[in-house]
Structures are given as C-alpha cells and as structure tokens.
C-alpha cells in the first residue's frame, strides 16, 4: 500500500519535471507560425493572421471556461464591441490606431464590469442563459441601429498608420499588419501566462475545482469570477479590434452567436484550462473550416458533429490526448 503510494508520488514528480514550461511549448508553436506567415503567399499570411487573432480570442475565453469553469455563450458581445470600438473611434474621432484600440478595450472593460457584476452571481444554466441574452441584446441592437453600425452590411474604414517608435508604419502592407498583430498575440500570451501562474491564477483554478471550499477559505469568489470575466472580455475585445483592423471592416455579424461559439470549439478541441490548448485548437480548426468551407458550404455540419464527438471521446482536447500517452 505504502510502496504503491510512493511510486505514485515518484511518478508524479517525474511527470512534473518532464512537463515542459508553458512558454517553451508556446514558442515551439509560435515560431513556426511566424515563419509561415512571413514567407508564405499573401492568402496564407492572411490565414495565419486570422489564426493569431482568434487564438487571442480563444485564450481569453479559456480564462473563463477553462480556469474558472464559467460557461459563457456570449463572448461575441465583446468581440463586436472591440471591433466597433476601434472602427467607430477611428471613423468619427479620427484618433490614431493605438488610441482607437485603447478606447475599444476601455469600452470592453466597462461593459464587462457592468454586465459581469450582474451575471457572474448566477451559476450553471442561468449563467449560460444570461450570457446568451446579453449577447443577443447587443446583436439585435447592432442589427437595428444601422445609422451607427451599418447593420448587416457593416462599415468599412481606412486603417490609420501605426505610430511605432516615432516611425509611422502603414498597415496597408499585409506583412507589416501581420507583424503588428503577431506581436500583440505574443504580448497577450505573456500577460495571460503571467496571470495564470500568479497566485490569482491559482485562485481561478481553485474556483474551478471547488468553489465552495474557496468560499470557506475566505476568498471572495464573486470578485475573482468577475476578474476572470473582465479579463476574458478584454482579450475578446482585443481580438475583435484586431479583426476589424485586419479586414478594415466590421458588421453586426461580429456580435452573432456563431462567433460566440467559435472560442468554445477552439478551446474544446485544444483542451481547456491549459492556455496553450486554445491556440492549438485554433491552429487545427480555423484552417480546416477555411479550406473545407471553400469546398463544401455546409461544413458547419462537420463542425457540429466534431463538437459532439470530441465531447464524447476526448473532452480534454489535443493537450489531454498528448498528456495521456507521455
């Protein structure tokens, strides 16, 4: 009995030592991605840019679903807010790009503080429903306020040049745009990696594992859930803003529920609660939908079936699969 416990501990220790650091794994994935984006023809670079943008979206979502076990089906709210935040502030106030992004993120933080403080009190089914509701409110409003959002047709804008160390970089060149977005991707990952390995991240995991116990230990669970919600909204907003910059366009569809489903799929495929999983999930699924979507327009049937099959056979995602056989 005792010996078996010891071998178990020994195994666990070996496991801990052998598990590479998150940042190392991340670099192993990000570096090839960067090279691919730099050397490839334009359409591949665009695809990699999309992968990077949606990776930010999915990583932010992972903080919510994977780390604090709050299942939201309404993240597109912040994706759309981020996109329109940057688009409208550039369009109507003529600010430069950084200010536009900062305005967009500020809006996301404020709205998520407001809606989050209402919704994170709810759990389970009620939380899912209220996130859907908030998402739908914004979606319906964006569809109907055509004077502001352009509705279904959307609005286009000329992306202003980027002020970077006293140089003005034009984002019209797709490689410059790619580098800009990629650097924000790296920064996002580093911030989130710091966050989850800090004591705050441990509290998040505590909430996921046993919310009640954390309450007894004296943690204000509501506050930490709210922080997770806001962080997630912030990165959803950043990703939305970058997507609007990449396309020079935003439409009411940015608020749609199908955009809310994307990070769920990506996180699920890669493995939730791992931060790197969502990135892997995006790398797998996004090109898949891109190419299959070009061949067969009903490819969402495959996505739907994939969701169900993954949940059934491999709920821990690609990361879980790798961990099982190492």
């Amino acid at each position: 009995m005792i010996s078996s416990t010891y071998t178990k501990i020994a195994k666990d220790r070996r496991f801990i030592i052998r598990t590479p650091k998150l940042t190392t794994v991340f670099l192993m994935i990000a570096l090839p991605l960067f090279l691919l984006g730099m050397i490839s023809p334009k359409y591949i670079t665009s695809l990699v840019t999309d992968i990077v943008i949606f990776s930010i979206y999915a990583m932010g979502y992972d903080i919510l679903l994977g780390f604090t076990n709050q299942f939201s089906y309404g993240q597109a709210l912040y994706f759309g807010l981020g996109a329109y935040g940057v688009l409208l502030s550039v369009l109507h106030m003529g600010v430069n790009l950084w200010t536009g992004i900062i305005i967009a993120l500020t809006i996301c933080v404020f709205i998520s503080l407001l809606l989050g403080s209402l919704s994170v009190r709810l759990t389970g089914a009620y939380f899912v429903i209220i996130t859907i509701i908030f998402n739908l409110v914004f979606y319906f409003l964006a569809l109907s306020w055509v004077w502001l959002t352009g509705g279904d047709d959307g609005l286009t804008f000329t992306v202003p040049p980027l002020d970077f160390l006293l140089i003005k970089l034009s984002l019209n060149d797709h490689i410059v745009k790619f580098c800009f977005i990629f650097s924000l991707f790296i920064i996002s990952f580093l911030i989130l990696e710091r966050l989850i390995s800090s004591p705050l991240g441990r509290i998040f995991i505590g909430i996921r594992e046993n919310e009640e116990r954390l309450t007894f230990l004296g943690y204000d669970v509501f506050r930490y859930k709210l922080i997770a919600y806001v962080v997630s909204a912030l990165f959803s907003g950043l990703s939305g803003a970058l997507y609007a910059i990449r396309l020079g366009y935003a439409s009411a569809e940015f608020f749609s529920l199908s955009l809310s489903a994307l990070p769920i799929v990506y996180t699920l495929v890669g493995g939730m609660g791992t931060l790197i999983g969502p990135v892997i999930g995006t790398i797998i699924i996004l090109p898949f939908t891109y190419f299959v979507g070009a061949l067969w327009k009903h490819y969402f049937i495959i996505v739907g079936a994939l969701i169900i099959l993954l949940l059934k056979f491999n709920p821990k995602g690609v990361i879980g699969y790798i961990m099982k056989y190492r």
Binding site: F71, A125, Y126, L141, F300, I308
Partner: protein, 291 residues
Amino acid sequence: MLLPEILVKILFNLINGLIWALIMALIALGLSLIFGLMGIVNIAHGEFYMWGAMLTWFAIAFFKNTLFGIVLTIALLASLGAVLERGVLRTFMGRPTYTVIATIGISYILQQVALAIFGGWPQAVPDPIKISIPIFGVGYPVYRLLLAGIAIAILVSLLVFLYKTSLGLQIRAAMQDEEMASAMGIPVSRIYTITFVIGAVLAGLGGALAAPIVQVFYLMGLDVLAMAFIIVIIGGLGSLRGTILASLIMCPLENLLTVFITPTEARVVSLLVMAVVLLFRPQGLFGGARG
C-alpha cells in the same frame, strides 16, 4: 363603429400577439419540460421549431397537404428527439456544460442540413383558408383564429396528459425528485427519452402552426429561441403553469410595443425584462415551486 386608427392597430397587435403567445407557449413548454426534468439548456430547441415549419412548408408546397405536413413533423421530430436523447445527450448526463455545448453542435447540424435540403431562401406558406371575417371593419383572416384553436387544443391535451394520466404523473414525479421517483419504480431513464421527445414534438408543432404566419427560413430558430428563453425564465424554469402565463403576458406585450418602437427594440425590452427577472427572482415571477 369606427375606431381611431391607432386603437385598431393596437387591437390587432393584441390579437396577433395572443395567437402568437399560444404558439410560443407550446414551444416554451417543450423547453421548460426538458429543462425541468433533465436540466438541459437546449440551444437546439429553435432548430426543432424551424424543422417543424420547414416540413410543413415542404408538405404544402409539394404535396398540397397540410395534414401530411403535421404528421411528417410529429413523426420526424419524435424520432429525432429519441435519437438525440439516447445517442447524444444521454452520454453527458450530469455535466451541464457539456450538454449545452453538445446542443450547440446539434443546432449547427440541424441548421445546415435544413439549409442543404430546403435551400436558403425565405419561403412563405400560402394562407390555408382564404376567408376573412370583419373585426371592427377590418378583415381578419380566419385561419389565424383556427391556428389559435389548434394551439389551445394541443395545450389542453398536453395538460390533461401531464395531470390526468399515469405517464404524466410519472413525468411530474421525476421532475420533482428523480431519485425518489426511481426508488418508487418509475423507469426514469425511459421517462427522460419520452420527455425529450415530447419537448421536440412541441417545438415542431409550434413551427408547423407558425409556418403560415412567419417566413420559413433556416435561421428562423434563433428569434424563437430567444423568445422561448425569455418566457421560460420569466415564468420560472421548469414551471409549466408559469411558462403558459408568461407566454400569454410577454407575447402580446411585445407585439403591443411594436406599435411604438421597432420590433428589434421591443425584443430588447423583453430581453431586459428577462435579465431583471433572472437577477432578482431567478425562480421566475409565477410561483416558486417546480411542477
């Protein structure tokens, strides 16, 4: 007797709202039953409704037979419900997050299959009966009143089934306390399948009834899903009487609002009412107890 135009408009919106409320009550009851018993937030519920409408349109357009459409709806949605419950949702029992994600997957599949089979263009079902009766000097189509009658008949028979038959009693018992019901010898597992089938068929019938009123379109489910959530939350998740009451109040109210503001803004108002109810009275406005 001639009424001022605005009053006539309000009146007609109220009548239309009431008819729509009866149809919505069917759909929301399906959602409420499924949640009340199995704890599943069924995102695919709007798709069940859409399939009901699509099948009815299909039967009328190609076979010129409304009854065939309704039979087809019941048959197809019942088997679909059974397959989905047994094959998919059963696996994720007790893990609410997984079931919600699974129903998102199901809704994608149902939506795209409908798009592939029936095409992406909004279809209109021709009025089944072309007679109209005058109400305050304005002709009102009879078939809408007929729809209301059918919806009431279905509602009444559902309530009779739930409250007067032994199977209905078993369903309500399982909703109240699953373990106890199981201990009393109620085959809870079979009750689950039956309830999910009933829920799916109710949504499908709602779609079949709504087909002549609304545009039949593969994305029509989203709108109804939102409304069904509003009704179910305001009435209290899992409370059947509350669901019917909430439907009868919210749908006419929303229709009434559309006299003054756009339909989208009216929907946003309902959504906000629902958010307030959810936050301050999560058990719903009408009665706290389930069942």
